[in-house]
Amino acid sequence: MYDFISGPLVWVAFLVFFGGLLYKFVTTYAAARREKVVLPTFSLKHGLRSLAHWVIPFRNRNTRLRPIFTLVSFGFHTCLLVTPLFLMAHNVLWRRAFGVSLPSIPDPLADVMTVIVILGGAFFFARRIAVPVVRYVSDWKDFVLLLVAVAPFVTGFLSTHQVLPGEKLLILHIVTGVAWLVIIPFTRIVHMLWYPFTRAFMGSEFGAVRHARDW
């Protein structure tokens, strides 16, 4: 069971993840070419300028109006992206499989970051229920996606700390990790791919076309 899950299933996960993102990118690019206004609007300078004002917290008005949400969201997303990439346990597996790996962060730091992801996820979940406008536009998929996104972190944390002995939690972690990867291209989590493009587009629309600021 472990061999299958950590072998062929992981291959499938990454193929679907990269393949899916590539498919989305290629088909959308083709559609963008047909919609004549889109591609000529992009301006590298203005796109980057807008990104700089949104990727760095508190450089735009809305993050300044919502400091708590901003801190939670930035913390959540940063830890979400950094932890799986720089976790020592993952890098050991890469090294074993392909002989190469990324640098690793110390395990206590990874623990803290994992907890930040889990708490951030809890914050978003609660917010989606408690804040009226968010609740109004949410459906069951929004809640499920959040759970799927956080699940690998929960199972990973529990598995690392051997809350239950044996392989069960590890297998669960890999399975939730696979689920996480394969849904990304086909659900709203694809915002991870589109974020720089929509931001750069609006930055170009406001900045290059209309000489105004979009932050």
Binding site: K36, R61, V133, V137, D139, D142
Partner: protein, 441 residues
């Protein structure tokens, strides 16, 4: 300031353009038009926006409707898309008539496409674009608020917004020239002068109901010593309500004639009066539909023009305006052209007691009249007023007596807000203040 009560549920507003059409139209036609528009006319942008929106609700802070309705969730930008495009896309056009009635009200009256929300969405999703897409669908369904459609019909027949006939146009110009010459004999409104440096284009309402503005510009141009002209033919109107009803074909026809007129007169640049949407139509939306990246001749908005006049010292200020003045940052000239700094330069030059609004510049609230809103007619006025209490609060906080509105729609919209909320202020165009304080040689 007084705040009249706002009903929890907006009452049904009668509008023959929507009501009568709803009675006639078949649901098959609705389905066909929606699917066709979403498939053929909206491609990458709509798909990416619908996929990327994570339903976070951060855009809500951007919308004056949401804020003025005390954060009623139905008025957030994302909620407006939910009540229109999400359903249309999800159900593949199989929507019912009550849905359409609601969606029409949202798209035509509860969003002015002012683009403030795009500055609050972390992804920069263009929610105004999606509102315009819904309006496009309604235009193709021939379901447009009656007053707005009448305005578009006027554009279609007379190439101007106010059913002005060609002889009325020339008469009005000559009348205003005469009036201005009473005070200032050198004033002229040169008509059909080929090769002039500037063609001045105005918006439809000016000859019809604000003719004194034509007199004003005659005085200003002559005093500043510009070589200018105006067309005597159709193509003088730079306004474009077709842009806001979703009738992009008429929008493009109007803009094409406007630019061809400027080209016929072989002018170096086109200066336009104080209007916001006209700039947007002439410089962005019209050219795009016509396949141009930019218009053939540079267009200069009134704000840029007055800035130039004052900066270059072509017009001197005799004595600054004394009353406390605040401003309206029109969406189409500030978010739409970054002219906020130049506007403030003008205010500092002309006014002794200028007080800025807060939030200002690109973050200013919409006036609740542009974007085709006020053109939908007086039957919808309350909807606009209920949706813009924050504007009234913003203006009151300045303590000013005068609101300078360099845009016709803002002028009317702010005037309505002042009346509805009993602010006791008055609205003025830049040119009105300028003419009062300028040195007349």
């Amino acid at each position: 300031m007084q705040v009249p009560e706002v009903p929890k549920e907006i009452p049904r507003i009668e509008d023959p353009g929507i009501d009568q059409r709803l009675e006639e139209i078949s649901l098959e036609e609705v389905e066909r038009v929606i699917v066709e528009t979403l498939d053929k006319e909206a491609a990458a942008r709509l798909k990416v926006y619908l996929e990327t929106c994570v339903h976070c609700g951060l855009c809500s802070e951007g919308c004056h409707y949401f804020l003025s309705h005390d954060k009623d969730p139905r008025y957030a930008p994302v909620s407006k898309v939910k009540q229109t495009l999400w359903e249309m896309a999800r159900r593949k056009g199989k929507v019912d008539k009550e849905f359409l009635r609601n969606a029409a009200r949202i798209a035509f009256l509860e969003c002015g496409a002012c683009r403030r929300c795009s500055m609050y969405c972390p992804f920069g999703i263009d929610i105004a674009y999606m509102t315009m897409l819904v309006r496009r669908i309604f235009h193709k369904l021939k379901m447009v608020p009656q007053n707005l459609q009448d305005t578009v019909n006027s554009h279609s027949v007379t190439m101007n917004q106010m059913w002005v006939q060609q002889d009325e146009w020339i008469d009005t110009l000559q009348w205003q020239e005469e009036e201005t010459r009473d005070e200032y004999p050198a004033a002229r409104i040169p008509l059909e002068k080929e090769g002039a440096e500037i063609m001045y284009s105005v918006i439809g309402p000016e000859p019809k109901i604000l003719a004194q503005l034509l007199g004003n510009i005659s005085l200003i141009m002559t005093a500043a010593g510009y070589d200018w002209t105006m067309p005597a033919t159709d193509g003088w109107d730079n306004s474009n309500m077709a842009m806001y009803s979703g009738d992009f074909e008429i929008m493009a026809r109007v803009e094409k004639l406007h630019w061809e007129t400027a080209q016929r007169l072989r002018v170096k640049r086109v200066v336009m009066g104080e209007c916001g949407h006209a700039f947007r139509g002439a410089v962005y939306d019209g050219p795009r539909w016509l396949g141009w990246t930019e218009p053939p001749i540079p267009m200069v908005h009134a704000i840029e023009f007055y800035y130039e006049l004052l900066k270059e010292g072509r017009i001197k200020v005799r004595e600054k305006y004394k009353k406390p003045v605040t401003i309206q940052d029109p969406c189409n000239t500030v978010r739409g052209r970054g002219l906020g700094d130049k506007l403030r330069y003008i205010m500092d030059m002309l006014c002794e007691d200028f007080r800025d609004v807060n939030p200002n510049q690109e973050h200013n609230y919409c006036c609740g009249a542009g974007g085709g809103l006020i053109n939908c007619g007086p039957n919808w006025k309350k909807v606009r007023m209920w949706g813009n209490r924050v504007k009234a609060e913003q203006l009151e906080a300045t303590g000013a007596q005068i609101v300078c509105t360099p845009c016709h729609n803002c002028h009317s919209g702010i005037e309505d807000i002042i009346g509805h909320y009993k602010l006791g202020m008055h609205v003025k165009f830049i040119s009105e203040i300028l003419v009062e304080v300028m040195e007349k040689p």
